[in-house]
């Protein structure tokens, strides 16, 4: 039987806690090798979604498929393929960093020396050398998070389910984790990265799924999502050396608005579209006019995110 194309797939996935609907009839799929960000306001269902795919949380309806297998019935063969970082799971806090890593490596079937070697590798990768012999309960929450990440990647899983993996980490450690995810995505592994950080998602995810009240309200590439929701923005060009009475003749064929200042400068405002900008700059050049300044407002991912989640909240 061939390997399924989709590493992760939600089919009508629903999770309710009593009357509260945490995940509401969600369907999407993530092909192998894709890095997908799951974003959404607090309480939107990100942690529950990761819990459902890792098999920790049982769905009320629908299916959470991982490597083609229902996560709620995940056999050990599939569990080997998945690495989970979530607040729902924890390593042994009485064990040292090294002992935790060795234990989990052994639980994934490595013998004692191979497990030790693998633990050394992870300690080095996540820069845990200084705390390798320290019991996890004596470490800061950031270092404990790194140990959890280390235990999740110790068996080099094909699918990473990361829920807020950099929460509590300093900038340097966050960069280590992001670099790791970037490197594994290049080797064809799949990552589901739930986060509240838009900049982080924009940097590492090729695709974003935005949740609000347990529903998927957007599912797109970051740039396309921003453009689709908030538009392209506008560019303002201040030009001198053009007579006010000629403006309509020069720029009339372009969708542009203008104002003339008291000093005689013309302020042109045009959509941030490459074609329109090319034509304007050509016309300005042809007229021998000078550009005084160029500015504008390009919508960010944050603008689009706030717009879409704000609408969902209403």
């Amino acid at each position: 039987m061939g390997e399924p194309f989709n590493a992760i797939q939600a089919v009508g996935l629903t999770k309710t806690y009593g009357k509260t609907v945490a995940i509401d009839n969600v369907s999407f799929s993530v092909p192998k090798g894709e890095v997908v960000g799951v974003l959404g306001p607090s309480g939107s269902g990100k942690t529950t979604l990761v819990g459902l795919f890792s098999g920790i949380v049982k769905p009320s309806r629908g299916k959470a498929l991982v490597a083609g297998v229902d996560a709620s019935k995940m056999p050990s063969a599939v569990r080997r393929k998945v690495g989970v970082v979530s607040d729902l799971v924890q390593v042994y806090d009485d064990l040292s960093v090294e002992k935790n890593l060795v234990l989990y490596a052994r639980l994934f079937g490595l013998n004692s020396s191979a497990a030790k070697e693998k633990a050394d590798e992870v300690v080095s990768l996540l820069e845990l050398e200084s705390s390798r012999k320290t019991a996890c309960k004596k470490l800061s929450s950031g270092v404990r998070k790194k140990v959890l990440i280390g235990s999740a990647i110790i068996n080099e899983p094909e699918i990473l389910l990361f829920d807020e993996p950099t929460a509590g980490l300093d900038l340097h450690d966050s960069l280590i984790v992001r670099n790791y995810v970037s490197s594994v995505s290049h080797s064809g592994r799949t990552v589901l990265w739930a986060t509240n950080s838009l900049s982080e998602a924009e940097r590492i995810c090729r695709r974003m799924i935005i949740l609000a009240s347990g529903k998927v309200i957007a599912d797109d590439e970051p740039k396309r999502f921003t453009r689709g929701i908030a538009g392209t923005g506008s560019v303002e060009i201040r030009v001198s050396g053009i007579k006010a009475e000629n403006i309509a003749d020069i720029f009339g064929s372009i969708d542009v608005s203008w104002e003339v200042s008291d000093e005689g400068e013309v302020r042109l405002t045009v959509d941030n579209e490459r074609e329109a900008l090319d034509r304007i700059f050509t016309l300005i050049g042809r007229m021998g006019a000078s550009i005084v300044s160029i500015g504008g407002k390009v919508p960010t991912l944050e603008d689009a995110y706030l717009q879409v989640t704000g609408e969902a909240r209403k």
Binding site: G55, I56, K58, V84, D87, V89, Y92
Partner: protein, 242 residues
């Protein structure tokens, strides 16, 4: 066969040694020792007290399950290749290992307390000692497996504490309220059967070889049933999140 239960049990025992919780193992022996100070000739109390001490001293291992579930450690283990059966098996094995230590300490107290009860009534021959370890292991494993099931079912640490007190009451009930184990415990009363084994072994040391009563069948059967049920409970309700 996968060595996961051995791996987890080794971790539990090493952790108990490192953290000092292994000192709990002295509790059953201390319990007996202090009882002997108040009633040096109360030989008839000894089997009950020994069983009682073993049960109370074994529930802590099961209680760790509640703690690990509460913290999300069990959920994390289930994300590895460890099955719920091997997690429960690891706890049972660590309970058994620590139980051996407790039994040894109890044996020492029996020899030197209660007027040298054991040395007075029975020669501490290998045969009797083997039977003593067998009977105390059954009592220990029964307590651990019942505790495991209850703590696997409960939702959090607060509930676990309530369960612990109820369990202690239930498990020791035959010894305290029924004035010792019933002569013929029913199949529904594994603790009565286990206490019965201990009672016979200590009160009538010469009968060690004849310990082939129904308790020997009932108790292991209950241990298996409780262990399997605990495995199902861990599998069905792996974490605080669900």
């Amino acid at each position: 066969m996968r060595a996961t239960p051995v791996l987890l049990a080794k971790k539990d025992v090493a952790e108990a040694a490192r953290e000092g919780t292994i000192l709990y193992s002295f509790f059953p022996a201390a319990f007996l020792f202090f009882a002997s100070l108040y009633n040096a000739n109360g030989a008839e109390l000894v089997p009950r007290l020994a069983s009682l001490a073993l049960v109370l001293g074994s529930l802590d291992v099961a209680f760790f399950m509640a703690r690990e579930k509460d913290k999300g450690i069990v959920a994390k283990l289930l994300l590895s290749t460890a099955s719920s059966w091997s997690i429960a098996g690891g706890k049972l094995l660590s309970g058994f290992t620590l139980g051996l230590l407790k039994s040894t300490l109890i044996l020492a107290v029996l020899k030197y307390s209660f007027g040298g009860l054991v040395s007075g009534n029975a020669s501490l021959d290998a045969y009797w000692i083997a039977w003593f370890y067998a009977a105390s292991s059954l009592v220990t494993l029964l307590a651990v497996s019942l505790g495991l099931l209850c703590f696997s079912l409960c939702g959090g640490l607060k509930a676990a504490l309530l369960y612990l007190s109820l369990l202690a009451l239930f498990a020791v009930q035959p010894a305290i309220f029924q004035s010792g184990a019933p002569a013929r415990a029913g199949w529904y009363d594994p603790f009565g059967s286990a206490y019965g084994l201990m009672e016979k072994l200590i009160a009538e040391p010469q009968s060690a070889g004849a310990l082939t009563g129904e308790g020997l069948a009932i108790v292991p059967l209950w241990i298996v049933i409780l262990y399997l049920s605990a495995g199902f409970a861990i599998k069905g309700k792996p974490s605080r999140a669900s």
